[in-house]
């Protein structure tokens, strides 16, 4: 059992945890219907502890809050599956098989591949592994910190990335647009190279200096292309707030880039303007190149 694989120190912590929060754990265990899947209170508590141990170690006072956000019912079902309860597995399949197929379809965009991906994951969740002597279900990695559904989404996406990208490991990666060569038709190649270097350095330095939260927000927007609504779901803010935040971030960043070019790279206002112009032309050429290649 994965739960039993904790170190001695962790076991000691678990004992404290179990003793201190027994009443709450019993209530959660009862409410989760774990008895249906033959999950004992101690097993339930151990799995819950695995999920919250790191956070509890950092701040023991957060344990009640952590327990209050625990998805006890999902935890019990997943652990029932992990223990090999056929009733639990039937319940899991009836509720989550469709979820898995839907998620796989949304990720792969191709029916046969999506089915293959979902079926392969289902076998892992059930714990069928021809190479292993005993059955080992992937459900042991679920500890009730999120809903089972969202966890399955995460797992299916991870599996997709592992499986399908591994197949393309030897294929050449597409050129990163950031590494694109400067415009071939620039008036002065020397200038362009200088501007490119300056601008890239300025942008990179300014980005590095940003707090992680702001960098992540820019990442959601520029790299992951999330919508304002999707970003709002992640940050818990309204779309309008996200929009304002992004706008102020852009302005701040542009100001800092221009400042960096002037103060650190000692460019004149004219050169800063040309830098931006260079970036503009560079993008136009990239687009042209991309269209031609298609």
């Amino acid at each position: 059992m994965a739960a039993a694989g904790l170190s001695g120190m962790a076991d000691l912590d678990f004992d404290h945890f179990f003793t201190d929060h027994r009443v709450r754990l019993e209530a959660l265990h009862r409410a989760s219907g774990a008895a249906r899947w033959s999950v004992s209170l101690e097993d339930f508590a151990r799995v819950a502890w695995q999920g919250i141990a790191a956070a509890a170690a950092a701040n023991p006072r957060e344990v009640p809050q952590l327990l209050s956000t625990l998805r006890a019912e999902d935890l019990a079902l997943a652990w029932g599956c992990a223990q090999g309860s056929e009733r639990a597995w039937d319940a899991f399949c009836s509720e989550y098989r469709g979820v898995l197929y839907e998620a796989a379809r949304a990720i792969v965009h191709e029916e046969a591949q999506a089915r293959e991906l979902a079926d392969s994951l289902l076998t892992e969740l059930y714990g069928v592994d021809s190479s292993a002597a005993v059955r080992s279900s992937r459900c042991i990695y679920f500890h009730g910190r999120s809903s089972l559904k969202t966890w399955l989404h995460a797992v299916v996406y991870r599996k997709f990335v592992d499986e399908y990208r591994r197949q393309r490991r030897l294929e050449p990666l597409p050129e990163s647009p950031g590494d694109a060569a400067p415009a071939a038709n620039s008036v002065s190649e020397a200038d362009d190279q200088r501007y490119d270097a300056c601008l890239s350095e300025a942008v990179e330095t300014c980005l590095r200096d940003l707090p992680a939260e702001e960098k992540l927000l820019l990442g959601y927007s520029y790299v992951q292309q999330l919508t304002l609504k999707q970003m709002g779901r992640l940050t818990g803010e309204h779309e309008a707030t996200i929009s304002r935040h992004l706008e102020s971030l852009r302005k701040k960043l542009q100001k800092r880039i221009a400042g960096y070019l002037r103060n650190v790279k000692k460019l004149s206002a004219y050169d800063v303007g040309r830098c931006l112009d260079f970036a503009s032309r560079g993008v136009a050429v990239e687009l042209d190149k991309a269209l031609k290649s298609k």
Partner: protein, 409 residues
């Protein structure tokens, strides 16, 4: 401006490119899938969240996974909405009509009454209703003075009808018709009830000096009997109507001269020792649903009433109203005494007062709302329910130390 926005785009693109270049591919230190799922569901603790954000800001794999999880969860939403959306949509549409219809009818009736075209018809309908008061729609009337009144009311009415003049002053419309949709916030003096039961007093009369009038139990009993089961939506819908009536009540119009019937009523009330009906007090209106509840379910052993600017009055022994010190200056809208010693008062801007000494002193109770509280129903010393103007109900079972909110349906 055009130039700057044109130059913004490439910079933004460059930012995206550099951000992408700064991201690492991810590896063994990446958090478990469950942590990313919990991040998307926002169930992590603050510390966990901050630490994960730090990782996400530099990890392409995890950032991409989080983005995918959000997309997946969002993609499922339309399906849920497709199933659920039609139900509330229909409900809202239905309620809109249900809300609009009574208000429209009330306005038309009020208009007709005001112009004098509807009065004969209403007068004809009044008599049979009094002879056989129908059963309350919600709950039976509690035993006590109201029952007695119900038995004696027809006789009183017939007696009063003999002295009643044929024509009523126009200004009476609001006062006599309004109780059908609204009620004054008086806990009627016991003397008034007794007088009515004995055939002395009669229907509410228009306030002769200022704005208010008193709705007597006869009005309430009739309303309770005739009022249909009213939903919270109806309460909200009637707000516009109430405002209209309040504005009419509060309009500084000259009071009409008392009619013969009014004079007779005053004489009867005086003979019975009731508090004067023309007390210079401003009253407010409650919505129909509270009215029904209150009229049929709340028994008040003593006479109390509330009004503007923190006014709380108790019926005195000789038929006068004795003003109590409330300690607030907000308009008070309702009062309830579950026991002779413990009483509750509610009013505008989330005002709740409570007395434990029969009204000698009132203590302000903290409540987690600033909304106008239009109704209080107190069932025990420590238990009370208050209703906001927008239909929310707040309940306490510990004398106002804590409140549970029930949202509007």
């Amino acid at each position: 401006m055009k130039d700057s926005s044109a130059s913004d785009k490439p910079i933004e693109k460059l930012i995206g490119d550099r951000l992408r270049a700064l991201l690492k591919a991810g590896g063994a230190d990446c958090p478990a899938a469950e942590m990313l799922a919990a991040f998307v569901e926002r169930t992590l603790t603050r510390g966990e969240r901050e630490s994960l954000q730090l990782h996400l800001a530099g990890c392409a794999r995890c950032q991409e996974q989080v983005a995918e999880l959000v997309r997946l969860s969002e993609a499922e939403e339309p399906a849920r909405v497709q199933v659920l959306a039609p139900v509330p949509a229909r409900k809202i549409a239905w309620f809109r009509w249900a809300l609009a219809a009574p208000a429209l009818v009330a306005l038309v009736v009020a208009g007709l009454w005001y112009t004098g075209e509807f009065r004969p018809l209403l007068k004809q309908q009044e008599q049979p209703a009094l002879k056989a008061p129908p059963a309350p729609a919600t709950q039976p009337l509690p035993a006590g003075p109201k029952d007695e009144f119900a038995r004696t009311a027809p006789a009183v009415r017939q007696k009063m009808a003999k002295t009643e003049p044929a024509k009523k002053p126009k200004g009476e419309m609001v006062v006599r018709e309004a109780p059908a949709r609204a009620q004054l916030y008086t806990a009627e003096p016991a003397a008034t009830v007794a007088a009515e039961a004995g055939g002395g007093a009669k229907e509410a009369q228009p306030g002769s000096a200022e704005q208010g009038a008193i709705a007597t139990p006869s009005t309430r009993a009739r309303l309770a009997a005739a009022a249909p089961a009213v939903t919270r939506e109806d309460k909200a819908a009637s707000t516009a109507y109430q405002d209209h009536v309040v504005s009419r009540l509060e309009a500084p119009a000259a009071a009409p001269p008392p009619t013969e019937r009014e004079k007779a009523a005053e004489r009867a009330a005086e003979a019975a020792g009731a508090a004067p009906a023309n007390e210079a007090t401003t009253f407010h209106l409650v919505s129909p649903a509270p009215l029904v509840k209150k009229a049929v379910a709340t028994a008040r052993p003593e006479g109390w009433r509330v009004g503007r600017q923190g006014l709380i009055q108790k019926a005195g022994a000789n038929g006068t109203w004795v003003t109590q010190t409330s300690g607030v200056d907000t308009n008070l809208l309702d009062i309830a005494f579950p026991t002779p010693s413990v009483g509750w008062v509610v009013g505008e801007s989330g005002t709740v007062l409570r007395t434990t000494d029969g009204g000698a002193t009132w203590k302000r109770i903290s409540i987690p709302t600033r909304a106008d509280l239009v109704l209080v129903v107190a069932s025990a010393e420590l238990s009370a329910q208050v209703v906001t103007r927008d239909g929310r109900t707040l309940t306490t079972t510990d004398g106002g130390k804590s409140w549970n909110t029930t949202p509007r349906d």
